[in-house]
C-alpha cells in the first residue's frame, strides 16, 4: 500500500533555481498554486470581459461570488469593510481553487492548502491586514481590543492576557484549521483507497470486497468537495470577523 503521506511530498519541477543560496525551485506546489491562480483569472476575466445589464452564465457566476463575499463583509464588518472585500475575495477564491483542484483525480494533483507553510502564509496576510487596519484607524486605541467592555476590574488583567493570547493565536488557528482539514481529508481518501486495493485483491473472491471501501470513498469524495468549499468559506468568514475587530473594535 502506498504511503498516504506521499501525496503531500513536494517535488521539484524543471531545473533547480537557487537564489542567494536559497532553493526557490519551481515545485508541484507552485504549479498547482499557479493553476489555481490561472483558473481564478480565467473565471474572472471571462466573467467580466463584456459586462452586460442582463448577465450571461459566466458573468452571473462571477457576480454571484462577488455578492456572496460582499454580503458577508457587509454583514460582519459593515460598509467601511467593503474596501477590503477584494482581498477577502482573493483569499476566498484562491483557497477554494487550491482546495478544489487538489480533488481532481488522475493528474497527480497537489493541494497547496494542505501545507502549513501555504496556509500560514495566507493567515499572515490576514493577520498583517488586521494589524495595519487596526492601528491605522484607531492608533494606540487599538489595544482596547484586549479590554472588553464591562469586565470587572479585578479580572481585567487576566482577561487582557487571555484576549491578547487569543489574538496572537489567530493566524495559527486560521492556518492549522485549513491545513488540518485538507490534510486529513486527503489522507482519509488515500487510506480508504488503499483498502479498495487490499480488500479487492483477496484471491478467493477478487474485487467483491473492494466495493465496500470504494463506495465509502465515493461518499468521502463528495464530503471532501463540501469541505473544500466550507473551509474556503470559513477562512473568508473568519478573515472578515477579524477585520471587524480592526475596523470597529468589537
Amino acid at each position: 500500500m502506498a504511503n498516504p503521506m506521499q501525496q503531500f511530498e513536494i517535488e521539484r519541477i524543471g531545473a533547480p533555481i537557487i537564489v542567494a543560496g536559497q532553493d526557490l525551485s519551481f515545485t508541484n506546489s507552485a504549479l498547482w498554486m499557479l493553476l489555481a491562480m490561472l483558473t481564478v483569472a480565467a473565471f474572472l476575466f471571462i466573467g467580466t470581459a463584456r459586462p452586460q445589464l442582463v448577465p450571461g452564465r459566466a458573468q452571473a457566476a462571477v457576480e454571484y461570488m462577488y455578492e456572496f463575499i460582499t454580503d458577508m463583509v457587509r454583514e460582519n464588518v459593515g460598509r467601511e469593510g467593503l474596501r477590503y472585500a477584494p482581498l477577502i475575495f482573493a483569499l476566498f477564491v484562491f483557497v477554494l481553487a487550491c482546495n478544489l483542484l487538489g480533488m481532481v483525480p488522475f493528474v497527480h494533483s497537489f493541494t497547496p492548502t494542505s501545507h502549513i507553510a501555504v496556509t500560514l502564509g495566507l493567515a499572515t496576510i490576514v493577520f498583517v491586514l488586521v494589524l495595519v487596519v487596526g492601528f491605522a484607524r484607531h492608533g494606540l486605541h487599538f489595544f482596547s481590543l484586549f479590554l472588553p467592555e464591562g469586565t470587572p476590574l479585578f479580572v481585567l488583567p487576566l482577561v487582557a492576557v487571555i484576549e491578547f493570547l487569543s489574538f496572537l493565536s489567530r493566524p495559527f488557528t486560521l492556518a492549522i484549521r485549513l491545513f488540518a482539514n485538507m490534510t486529513a481529508g486527503h489522507v482519509l481518501l488515500k487510506v480508504v483507497g488503499g483498502f479498495v486495493v487490499t480488500l479487492g485483491s483477496i484471491e478467493a473472491l477478487p474485487y467483491v470486497f473492494g466495493l465496500v471501501p470504494l463506495s465509502v470513498n465515493v461518499a468521502l469524495t463528495a464530503l471532501e468537495l463540501l469541505i473544500a468549499l466550507v473551509q474556503a468559506y470559513v477562512f473568508a468568514l473568519l478573515t472578515s470577523i477579524y477585520l471587524n475587530d480592526a475596523v470597529n473594535l468589537h
Binding site: S29, V40, L44, Q52, L53, A117
Partner: protein, 162 residues
Amino acid sequence: MPQFDTSTFIPQLFWLSLIFGVLYFLVVRPTLPKVGRVIDERETRVKGDLDAAEAAKGAADAVRLAYDEGMAAARKTAQAEVATARAAAAKAAEARMAALAAELDGRTDAAMATLATARADARAALAATAADLTADAVRRLAGIDVTAADVDAALAEGVRHG
C-alpha cells in the same frame, strides 16, 4: 509528514507570495470593481425603471381620476338637463291637456246646446205634425173637417181632463 519539512517553507512562501500577489494585484483588483460597477449600474437602472413606472402609474392614475371626475360632472349635467327637459315636457303636456280639456268642454257644451235646440225643434215639429196627422185622420175617418188648431185645443182639453 512532508508538511513539517521546514526546508520547503521558504520556497513555498516565495511562490505563494508571487502567485497570490499576481492574483490580487493583476487579476482581482482590475476585474472585481467592474463587477461592482455593473451590479450598481443594474441597480440604478432597475431603480430608475421602477421610478419611471411609478411616475407613469401616478400620471395614469391622475388621468383616470380626471376622467372619472369629468364623467361624474358630465353625468350630473346630463341628469340635470334631463330633469329640466322632463319637467318642461311635463308642463307643456299638462298645458296641452288642459287646453284640450277646455276645448273639449266647450265643444261638449256647444254640442249639448245644439242638441237641446234640436230636441226642442223636434218636439215642436212633432206636435205640429201630430196635430196635422190627427186632423187628417179625423177628416178621413169621421169626415169632420178639423184644423190643426182644433186638434191642439182638443188635446189640451184631453190633457186637462186626463
